[in-house]
């Protein structure tokens, strides 16, 4: 939903990218049609929400040397995964009277269906990580994506902690870095649009929120805005329910 359009935002390096890569398929940019593989790199955007997408994804995986998930939808299920936090039929009924031509399945990230070689996180995806993915393929090395939390980025920037100092329910401690601590730098709490950092301790932060006086439902919403389909954040939600 616009991650391919994201190329229009990272055009600073367009000449370099064009010099090194042939874009054989970006529907948003070219009328050329669907090419046959094999492909060196596949960048896959979007949450899988219909069965044919999973089928197509498997075909693309089979034809691609490297497959990267780009953007929070593809990486962690993202915003569309909120749908599965309620009975899905109920959610669908709120939108359509006639559901006979709707073929939606439970929303999932790309790696629910295929092996992924790397994650270009974020909504929008981190520009630096996109170049890192591309250059890693060019140079034949493993891509180096940030694996620390947004907290580290705040410290590097010298930000005052909005969680401790301002009592804002900041998701920074459990959120993967890559945005440059954008929200805390703009006087607001991180809402985790980059999704959970690997092995983040969701339950610990949920406990902290509870101690701050934040209601159960508000805590659940924090952990299901972008990370509803992730183990790290599901653990926090389960903890809150059990508590």
């Amino acid at each position: 939903m616009g991650c391919s359009y994201f190329f229009a935002y990272v055009h600073k390096h367009v000449p370099e990218v064009l010099a090194s890569f042939d874009f054989v398929f970006i529907k948003m940019l070219s009328r050329k049609g669907i090419p046959d593989g094999p492909f060196d790199i596949a960048l896959v955007e979007g949450t899988i929400t219909e069965a044919w997408q999973a089928d197509e994804l498997k075909i693309i995986r089979g034809q691609s040397k490297k497959l990267f998930a780009i953007g929070s939808c593809a990486v962690i299920g993202g915003i569309p995964a909120i749908k599965a936090t309620a009975p899905e039929l109920e959610v669908e009924k709120r939108v359509y009277k006639n559901l006979s031509s709707i073929h939606s399945i439970k929303p999932h990230a790309v790696d629910a269906y295929v092996k992924v070689d790397g994650y270009i996180r974020g909504c929008p995806p981190a520009e630096r990580d996109l170049y890192e993915a591309l250059t890693s393929v060019l140079t034949g090395r493993k891509p180096d994506f940030p694996q620390h939390s947004v907290c580290i980025e705040c410290k590097l920037k010298g930000n005052l902690c909005v969680l401790i100092a301002d009592n804002m329910p900041c998701m920074g401690p459990v959120t993967n870095a890559g945005c440059g601590a954008l929200c805390p730098s703009m006087n607001r709490a991180c809402y985790s649009c980059f999704g959970p950092m690997k092995q983040a301790n969701g339950p610990a932060l949920a406990k902290k929120f509870k101690a701050m006086g934040i209601s159960r439902d508000d805590i659940i919403r924090k952990f299901t805005e972008f990370g509803a389909d992730t183990i790290e954040f599901r653990k926090a939600v389960e903890m809150v329910y059990e508590d």
Binding site: M1, G2, C3, Y5, F6, A8, Y9, H11, K12, V14, L18, F23, K27, M28, L29, S30, R31, K32, G33, I34, T47, T49, E50, Q53, G78, I79, P80, I82, K83, T85, A86, E90, V91, E92, K93, R94, V95, Y96, K97, N98, S101, I102, S104, P107, C123, P124, C179, L182, C183, S185, M186, N187, R188, Y191, C193, D218, R221, E225
Partner: protein, 415 residues
Amino acid sequence: MKIDINYIARVEGESSVKLEIEGGKLKELRLNIWEPPRFFEGFLVGRKFDEVPDIVARICGICPVSHMTTAIRAMENAFGFKPSTEVKKIRKILALSQILSSHLAHLYIFALPDFFKLNSVVEMLPRYEKEIKRFLRLKDAANSITSLFGGRALHPVSMVVGGFTKLPSKADTEKAAKELESLHEDALETLKMASELKCPALENDAEFVALTGKGEYAINGGIISSTKGLNIKEHEYPSYFIEDEVPYSNAKRTVIKDRGSLMAGALARINLGFDNLLPDAKKASEDIGFKGGGNPFLNNLAQAVEIVHAFQECAILLRGLTLKEYFADFKVREGVGSALTEAPRGMLYHYYEIDRSGIITKANIVTPTAHNFLNLEESLKKLVTENIDKPEDELILMCEMLVRAYDPCFSCSVH
């Protein structure tokens, strides 16, 4: 003969046009918007009002500012909150910067290659390097305005109910204004380029609908006006506009009650608000003999006029900022709130019912492309009927060009 145009490139989202010609006559034509639904209106129920702007931003990677602003204004209407003049100015700057980004991308990347008989903007290099470089300069400037206020050009983070969480410094806004002013010539060149594109003739009797304002080129709110005499307030929208499901499409279709199809977008805004354009944009437009019109292909040209206008209005607004009173507290209360804005592609409507703790109990979103859906289909029928003898390849390209001229966002239309 059946034609299935199932690969419509260089638009946002997924659709196909299926048509059947029998005995030299068009028998049937359907625009099938098969973009998979994400059910935003369904899963917004149960979410809290202050999350909604960040969530609805993700409906679109091109017009997040519009979805955020419309949702924020709807919440503020529900709470009976009135934002400061300064907040309104900044919201307009952001909206204009996004109109610029969207129009520039549409004109140069989506629309232009057709006129040079090329598949993509990449194929335009190296021959059209001058145009591409101009595009990159303009696009960069538009993006930098959105990120100056929003923290980033896509999915800005500073826009909240009540105002903004942080603002740039006076030095930064002055610098940005100067930068925009320096691009006036590039904007005029873009208009000149758009005026030289040869478009097929196509009559279109659509009712053009846009928000209008008194002495202002309306973007964030206004009077809902049409070329056939509609003149209503924002909250009256549901009594005049009817949204319905279409059996062959995931997008719903909106019509004006008892009247039928409508057309929203840049051409509608020009048709209804030409006199409110800034003098330079108005003059530049008159100089090329354009004051609006019915042919939907003119939407490309209307966007170019808006580019000239938006760069200038953005700079004027930037110069007039005090950078004070950018946030005010509000009281959450039970209520119903709706709002309309002019997204780059046309009129956008958000509606919310909110309970006393600020939780959404009902949501409805009608996007520009849902407003344009029926008229686009009718225009396609007319185009095919009038060009029925053309070779299939040519006919297919013409249909695609028409779809692109409407600048649809099929992802938004399904949401």
